[in-house]
Amino acid sequence: MKNIIELKNVNKWFDKFQALKDVNLEVKQQEKIVICGPSGSGKSTLIRCINRLEEHQDGQIIVDGNEISENTKDIEKIRAEVGMVFQQFNLFPHLSILDNCTLAPIWVKKMPKKQAEEVAMKNLERVQISDQAKKFPGQLSGGQQQRCALARALCMEPKIMLFDEPTSALDPEMIKEVLDSMVDLAKAGMTMIVVTHEMGFAKEVADNMIFMDEGRIVEKAKTKDFFNNPKSDRTKLFLSQIL
């Protein structure tokens, strides 16, 4: 299957600090990749570069055949195809759950309002919060908010989904409900790149694991190999600490 995302020798600096060092990555359609690593290792920066919430200074990032750089004209078009779920949910607090989900389809994809609402209800159903549609984000629990954020991204019918530590801000008992929704999504064949420390989720879902440290991809391996016989010592150390 063809590559939907390609990163070639990507380098990124925040002022003098180099956040990404020669990152190479290929993601095939329907592939699920889980990225793990210590904090400050560049995991989030990496996936935020893919929809250009961060700008890389060197190398190539190609998403669905379009190279992303400062010359990219329709960055909005590419972003519309790449859904993202954030650590802090980032729901729009002034809009109801339903409006959160319909806003972008109506204004970006120019979908008729009625159709957008149908799509939204379908996706809210999928993450099992369709009964909360009329409420505002502030009235929902953290787990419900994160599932709504997932539904909101899905309403744009993206080709790729990026997850930036989706369960890190949640109470332990709410993590499962979010992970369950993500597992469902994975089974439905979505291309997913997930930054997370939930190793149980990784074992269940991921095709490939990536371990990052100090801005480099230290190890990339099939999930089974990654957990059973990691090659680098740094990976072994990391896994021994979190498992």
Binding site: K77, A80, Q88, L91, L103, W107, K109, P137, A153
Partner: protein
């Protein structure tokens, strides 16, 4: 040895309350006799002590009735609200005594000793306010120098405005959009034409004759409506990534914020025409409106920028990740939240604007306060400054208080917190 300070409790409550009430009563009685009847029963005491007797008796009384929980609702309410500690008791007494002292004379001046009937200054014989002055001049205070027989035009314009605004609360939301557009873009032209005249057989009335409260409304309304969008774009401009836009916004804002309004108005009247080519003439009122609008827009920009900065970065990122461009992100996500955050600040600026309108007197336009100023110098009505300014102050207060209440309602209505 344990010193047992006398304190009320459940058992002896009745006796404590009756003794305490008696002390308080003496305190109040002494104060009232002193204030209204000029009787000083405590005159035999040294001066300072005699003066403080009501406070001392009041404090002792309040101390005696202070009990944690009595079961009596009135007593508990007094204890909770006025008498929770000695210091609170002192403050309560001071406030109550000063109210007793100052409210009656004020009421006397306003109502009981005031004169309402008559048409000339000589009809004012009482020692209170002479509201005859306001009554006689009311027409001028509201319409300025606008000719009496043409005043229906101002009335019509304002009735139309109130009708349209009122209607906008009741029409279905689909029509509401058009009604608002009409109000914003077409109504001002109609209203302006109606009041200034010159076409459709209406007599032309130059803006110099406009004045009074109606001019206050006209200036405020125009400036309010126009300064808001300008301020919004200036706020966005100041945060823009494009240096040209950013620096011109900063320059504009800092220039206007750094100059007193009275100077700006003066320049608009005196200096501005010098830059115009010969023969072109821009009406004085329009120049003033533009000056006030730009001046207030600079303040508005900074208020709105405060809201923009209070918004978490995640909101911008979420909007971007959904494929929204700059304008969609700002008009759908950022501004609705930022403006809601700064409603108090916006209301503040609006109130300041309304109260700044009297300054247009420097270019010879007389709104409400200006007309009062003019009327009090009328030889037949000398010495009426107090009544005039109190009247103007009350009218301004009513306008501003209404706006303030409206902003509070809006805040509540738009709140989506839990």
């Amino acid at each position: 040895m344990h010193i047992n300070i006398i304190k009320p409790n459940k058992e002896n409550l009745t006796s404590f309350v009756s003794i305490g009430s008696f002390f308080i009563l003496i305190g109040f009685a002494d104060f009232i006799f002193n204030t209204f009847l000029n009787l000083n029963f405590t005159g035999f005491l040294p001066d300072t002590l005699s003066y403080l007797i009501p406070i001392i008796f009041g404090l002792i009384g309040l101390y005696l009735i202070r009990v944690e929980f009595s079961g009596n609702r009135l007593l508990d309410r007094i204890n909770n609200n006025f008498n929770s500690s000695n210091f609170n008791a002192l403050l309560s007494l001071l406030v109550i005594f000063s109210l007793i002292k100052f409210i009656p004379p004020l009421l006397n001046w306003f109502i009981f000793d005031a004169d309402f009937a008559g048409n000339t200054k000589q009809d004012c014989t009482g020692s209170g306010a002479c509201w005859v002055f306001v009554k006689v001049w009311l027409n001028r205070f509201v319409y300025g120098m606008y000719p009496d027989i043409e005043q229906w035009r101002i009335n019509t314009a304002f009735f139309l405005l109130f009708f349209l605004v009122g209607a906008s609360f009741f029409v279905p939301s689909k029509l509401k959009k058009y009604l608002l557009l009409f109000l914003l873009f077409i109504y001002p032209i109609i209203g302006f034409k109606l009041i200034s005249g010159g076409d459709f057989g209406l007599k032309y009335i130059e803006t110099g004759a406009w004045g009074g409260l109606s001019l206050t409304f006209i200036v405020s309304a125009f400036a309010l409506i126009l300064c808001f969008p300008i301020g919004m774009f200036l706020a966005l401009g100041r945060r823009s990534n494009l240096p040209a836009i950013r620096y011109s916004s900063i320059g504009f804002i800092e220039l206007w914020r750094g100059v007193p309004l009275i100077t700006v108005l003066f320049m608009s009247a005196v200096m501005f025409p010098m830059f115009l080519p010969d023969g072109t003439y821009v009406d004085k009122l329009i120049r003033v409106l533009i000056a006030i609008t730009l001046f207030e827009a600079a303040y508005m920009a900074e208020v709105i920028r405060g809201g923009l900065q209070a918004l978490p970065k995640g909101q911008y990122e979420a909007a971007k990740s959904l494929g929204m461009g700059y304008w969609r992100m700002h008009f759908l996500i950022v501004l609705p939240q930022a403006l809601k955050l700064v409603i108090p600040g916006i209301a503040n600026t609006f109130l300041a604007l309304v109260k700044d309108t009297p300054l247009i007197f420097v270019v010879g336009l007389l709104e409400l306060a200006g007309m009062v100023n003019l009327a009090k110098t009328n030889p037949e009505w000398l010495g009426m400054a107090m009544e005039g300014y109190v009247f103007a102050g009350l009218v301004f207060w009513v306008i501003c208080y209404a706006m303030s209440r409206y902003s509070q309602n809006l805040e509540k209505k738009l709140s989506t917190e839990r």
